[in-house]
Symmetry: C2
Subunit: 197 residues, 2 copies
């Protein structure tokens, strides 16, 4: 078991370094395996695809493959609400909060970490949301949603802006939901010029 643990740790370390230094695209399961001194089949055995390895390395506290379909299935006009509820509930968990604030802090401070976070978010989370939305401007809508989420993490959990920092999660989710919903399904151009949507 110790050998397996060390091998997994070596693969994770190699993946983390390569994702951060050369970016997601130029990293392969093969190059990670080479650096970790193992067979590529072992990387696949332990971690599955390169996508899943990235998620494992940056320690996202949820599995986007499981979560995105649940949030984005069903009534489209309630996606904002489901997303806000999921987000605030997840961030109530101390360990999940630690990982997410760690990711945001890393993204803000180190260009290499920023690249890794960008790769993770774009490929593993955003791409699934864009697919689920199935609209032409899904990438812009998703990145706008992302901007609000990272801003919430900064304001509520990192900088601690009041009263946002100490309000109950349900109150914050209710305040956030319609804004997430507009980014997902509302008109994005010129509507501000004409007044409220």
């Amino acid at each position: 078991m110790i050998g397996v643990g060390l091998t997994r740790a070596a693969i994770r370390a190699a993946a983390g370094r390569q994702f951060a230094e050369q970016g997601y695209d130029r990293t392969s399961v093969r190059s990670i395996a080479r650096e970790a001194g193992v067979d590529p089949a072992l990387v696949a055995h332990f971690f599955g695809t390169k996508h899943r390895l990235l998620v494992d390395v940056v320690e996202l506290p949820f599995d986007p493959e499981q979560v995105v379909p649940v949030i984005f299935a069903g009534d489209r006009e309630q996606i904002g609400r489901r997303l806000a509820d999921f987000l605030l509930a997840t961030l109530e968990d101390p360990e999940a909060r630690r990982r997410i604030t760690g990711l945001v802090r890393a993204a803000a401070s180190e260009p290499e970490a920023a690249r890794m976070v960008r790769a993770l978010i774009t490929r593993e989370v955003f791409a699934r949301i864009v697919d689920a939305l199935g609209v032409d401007d899904g990438d812009l809508r998703t990145s706008l949603v992302g901007s609000q989420i990272v801003g919430l993490v900064m304001a509520r959990y990192i900088v601690g802006i009041e009263p946002l920092a100490s309000l109950p999660p349900e109150t914050v989710a209710a305040a956030l939901a319609p804004n997430l919903q507009r980014y997902l399904s509302g008109p994005l151009d010129a509507s501000g010029r004409e007044g409220r949507e």
Copy 2:
């Protein structure tokens, strides 16, 4: 001139250290003057009030005292649009962008800097907006607006999430404006549960 420059620099350094280490409230013009080895009257002469010294030290690239009334005066339903336009126009300027991304990075990485940024934003910017709004829940509305703004800075300028990172500022401002507007004047509770506002 060199003497004046050095004196100003000494005052700035003392203020920066005290704001960061002991927080805004427990820092006084008198304690800053003492550390800088100058008369408090000289601090007032160079920088005006403690508020203005904080703004000077953290190098906000605009004067909230000038900007907030302009954005928040006039048609209330267009505040979101004016705020979005101002924000994106400001961030187009390389020096202003450098200062703002520096502030956000500092807030994300160092607890002391986070405290200083929080003090600055709360007192110098948010308090003016809350006053200008003149509503009971102005502090929550303002902190929600703040969460979207810091998230935009992170997503567009620091992490570089596409297509948000390379779209023209006008497009981003138009996409942002109605969301800022809802935080400022829309219903904040339960509206997400019922569908779009």
